[in-house]
């Protein structure tokens, strides 16, 4: 009845639908109209050019952090450190963007590269420790998140500025923002970064599915022993996977630094872009295309939700609960998988 492929597509869709239904029940329970609520959400995400621009703007870093987590997953690693990699990537991009003078054709790629490099370095450390000493990457990446947060705050206050809480704005030649895109979308913060994110998704797909390097990464992800037996260098692949994963997350930071904000403020808490990337990757089945689609969904929910309090009177906290429910159903997708299999058995 269902092929494997169908299955992989069906499960996340059902997860999302169940999450929406559960959210509707919660809204009903608290006396809000779920139809109005969801209509407000859709309106808030796509209702006019401004909202649409903001949605795409939000989708951009989600694609990249989703790819970061998905890529590591494919090599059998859990990169929970995308958050920290976003932060260092953000700083690196802004640093290059504020301190160097060069024509755009050099400056912008250089700033993006710096962000990817910084994120990659942040992935390299846990990768190296995992490969050489067998230290679990989850522990190290969590710690690296905190190091990133406080280190960047320190650098912004004491190195990039004179005890200020934000950096200068990046110069024109390093900015992703575009007057044209902004006017097109009634002055949303939409920027060219979406193209970077989509190129990154194609890059990940190509690397994993078409190259020998990707073959090794997938093989190591599935079965380390067989990979070693077959002559692959398991340690090298673990490090490589973490570096590339960190690079994606670093680029997500650049999206914020060179696009959305154009500067970097100090952060008192995590941005959550990296953590949301975990849910995006999970929903997207750790595949490039799936991650892009999942990122669109998350961006839509995030931006659309902003309209729910004004559009339908649903409090923002409830909106967070609805999103959490969707993630919950995605995370427990094995239950849905099981139910589908059951159906398949009986329906044959």
């Amino acid at each position: 009845m269902f092929s494997n492929r169908m299955f992989n597509i069906l499960v996340p869709i059902i997860s999302v639908v169940l999450g929406l239904i559960a959210g509707a029940i919660i809204m009903l329970g608290f006396g809000y109209n779920p139809f109005q609520g969801y209509l407000a959400l859709i309106d808030g995400a796509f209702g006019n050019a401004y909202f649409f621009g903001e949605t795409i703007r939000q989708v951009t870093p989600y694609i990249l952090t989703g790819l970061a987590v998905a890529f590591a997953f494919r090599a059998g690693l859990f990169n929970i450190g995308a958050e920290g990699q976003v932060i260092v990537g953000w700083l690196a991009a802004v640093w290059i963007g504020t301190t160097i003078e060069a024509p755009m054709i050099v400056h912008l790629p250089l700033a993006l590269f710096a962000a990817a490099l910084a994120g990659g370095m942040w992935g390299f450390v846990p990768g190296l420790l995992k490969a050489k000493l067998g230290v679990h990457e989850v522990i190290i990446t969590i710690m690296m998140n905190y190091i990133a947060l406080y280190l960047t705050n320190h650098l912004i206050r004491n190195v990039l500025t004179d005890t200020k809480d934000t950096t200068d704005r990046v110069v024109e030649s390093a900015a992703l923002s575009s007057e044209w895109l902004m006017t097109l979308t009634s002055y949303s913060r939409l920027h060219w970064g979406i193209l970077v994110a989509l190129v990154a998704a194609v890059f990940m797909w190509f690397l994993l599915e078409k190259t020998t390097a990707g073959y090794e990464l997938r093989s190591v992800g599935y079965n380390r022993h067989a990979s070693e037996y077959a002559g692959m260098k398991v340690g090298k692949n673990i490090i490589l996977a973490m570096v590339i994963s960190g690079g994606f997350a670093g680029l997500a930071g650049a999206m914020e630094g060179l696009g959305t904000f154009g500067y970097m403020p100090t952060h008192s808490a995590f941005t959550n872009i990296g953590f949301d990337g975990i849910a995006v990757a999970l929903l997207g089945g750790n595949a490039a295309l799936g991650t892009v689609i999942a990122a669109f969904l998350f961006g839509t929910l995030k931006i659309g939700a902003l309209n729910m309090p004004t559009g339908a009177g649903v409090p923002a906290e409830l909106v967070e609960i609805v999103i959490a429910l969707i993630i919950f159903f995605v995370a427990s997708s094995y239950i849905i998988r099981w139910a589908l299999l059951r159906l398949k058995k009986e329906g044959k």
């Binding site: 078409k210 093989s219 599935y222 067989a226 037996y229 002559g231 044959k348």
Partner: protein, 509 residues
């Protein structure tokens, strides 16, 4: 009327597109050991899963102790006194023997588990059936053989009097097999009935009373073991004559291919497992290493293939030193390795079978150019191998996981032999396979020998060593303790040598 404990009459079970069981009758008498014999994929496990309540049959009747029953799930089977010991154990590693046994039916006292009583019960049960398990030992600390006895105890603890054992000897050493056979005999003496799923004919002859044969999902016959012999059983099972003594011409050894000098290897704990070993394998001969598991065979193979660093000594291939090279360099030097554990080492189970066929060669032409894979070439290559080696798979895109054990092994052998290596290391190449597949693999190894390749065969099955090898090196305690010719020795002598008893011929050539 005969006194049957379990009767499965005219059972039919279908899966989408295939009939897994059809027209099968299985009648088990009280207190007998009844073998269920069939090739891999013949439908033995399906039939037993029907009996155990995991599948519902489309047709047919099941009777337990004369009463017609409907077994809807394993709990019903348990209540009817049917217990199953699966091939892959279902035990919690970090729990003790007792904790595992009582799991799900714990004796309670004031709302807490009465572990004292449980331990007492377990040790009484264990004594009664001669199972010798330590109720307080943790599962991860005990041998595979003892783990299996824990599984048996688990079913007895739940009051089972019909035991289904699914290929119980596949994971055991020869000593453990002997013990298990003793246990089975003592169980039936006390009124327990056993259904033994197996494709090992010798075991059937040794321990079973009657034997039901199924082939391609159909019931073929039920025979009294005392009135039959291995050859008849084999042809019943396969549907054609099977030759057990593999046909081969005498070896014509040529130049030396593998030379090992004074090799010392430590295991992961740092214990010396290979202790100054010397070994030579020539082109055109099969050298069989006989030995009980754990005498350094695994470490020896890992050292040759580059998976483990050596402590001292030299490994030469065609007079070139390959000591401590990386696995890739060893492979490129001309060594193929059919690993002992095909799931852990031999295959990436979640890769399509086609991608598994280039596991060592994916980066070479024509499978890749400038780092980009050519999937057309890869899958064409896989298609050819699958045809040539008769790997039964729906297509090359099927995941390796979905194939039967025999076909997985054929795929590995296809991949390893096709590289035209100078040396083939085959570790337990036929473990868990049925006679048809075993025959095929033995033939292939001999064919490769005849093409002038050196073959190093490591096996715990003496039959295999005796049948296939041109020369036998007996390994004990990290050393080769004897070199013998198969035609000049017998299983008893080999058994003694493997157990470490020295004899005059020690040292061999």
């Amino acid at each position: 009327m005969e006194n049957y404990v379990v009767e499965m009459l005219d059972i039919r079970k279908e899966f989408p597109g295939i009939v897994a069981n059809d027209n099968i009758n299985l009648q088990v008498k009280k207190g007998e050991i009844h073998a269920l014999l069939g090739e891999n994929g013949a439908g033995k496990s399906t039939l037993m899963n029907v009996l155990f309540g995991l599948y519902q049959p489309e047709k047919g009747e099941i009777r337990v102790k004369g009463k017609k029953v409907k077994i809807t799930d394993p709990n019903v089977a348990n209540e009817l006194g049917i217990g199953m010991v699966h091939q892959h154990f279902m035990l919690v590693d970090t729990f003790t023997v007792t904790q595992n046994i009582i799991l799900g039916s714990e004796p309670r006292r004031y709302g807490t588990i009465d572990i004292k009583k449980a331990e007492k019960d377990v040790s009484e049960l264990s004594d009664r059936y001669g199972l010798r398990v330590d109720p307080k030992a943790k599962i991860r600390d005990i041998s595979v053989g003892m783990q299996q006895r824990v599984e048996i105890l688990k079913t007895l603890y739940r009051g089972a009097d019909v035991l289904i054992l699914d290929e119980p000897t596949a994971v055991l050493t020869p000593q453990e097999i002997k013990e298990l056979i003793g246990i089975m005999k003592s169980l039936v003496k006390q009124g327990i009935s056993i259904i033994l799923i197996t494709h090992k004919l010798k075991e059937i002859m040794e321990v079973c009373d009657r034997c039901t044969v199924i082939r391609k999902g159909e019931g073929i016959d039920t025979v009294n073991v005392s009135e039959t012999n291995v050859d008849d059983l084999a042809s019943l099972m396969v549907g054609r004559e099977i030759s057990f003594t593999t046909e081969k011409t005498p070896a014509e050894p040529k130049q030396s291919v593998l030379n090992i000098h004074e090799l010392k290897v430590l295991d992961a704990r740092g214990v010396e497992m290979v202790k100054g070993l010397n070994l030579e394998v020539k082109a055109g001969e099969i050298v069989g290493i006989a030995g009980v598991d754990g005498n350094g065979q695994s470490e020896l193979i890992e050292a040759i293939t580059g998976l483990r660093k050596t402590e001292s000594g030299k490994v030469l291939l065609n007079d070139k030193e390959i000591t401590n090279l990386t696995p890739r360099k060893v492979t490129e030097a001309g060594v193929s390795h059919i690993p002992q554990d095909r799931h852990k080492f031999g295959l990436v189970l979640d890769f399509p079978i086609g991608e598994n066929m280039v596991l060592q060669t994916y980066y070479q032409k024509p499978y890749a150019k400038n780092g980009i894979l050519s999937f057309n070439k890869i899958y064409d290559h896989a298609k050819n191998l699958i045809k040539e080696y008769d790997v039964r798979t729906p297509n090359v895109f099927t995941k390796a996981r979905a194939l039967s054990g025999g076909n997985q092994q054929k795929a590995i052998i296809a991949r390893e032999v096709d590289r035209s290596p100078d040396l083939i290391i085959a570790a337990q190449p036929t473990r868990g396979l049925d006679v048809g597949a075993i025959e095929f693999i033995h033939k292939k190894l001999i064919e490769e020998r005849d093409k002038g390749r050196a073959v190093l065969l490591i096996s715990f099955e003496l039959d295999e060593i005796m049948n296939v090898s041109d020369r036998i090196a007996v390994m004990f305690d990290g050393n080769i303790v004897a070199n013998v010719k198969p035609e000049e020795t017998n299983e008893q002598e080999l058994g003694l040598l493997m157990a470490g008893s020295r004899k005059e011929k020690v040292g061999g050539e």
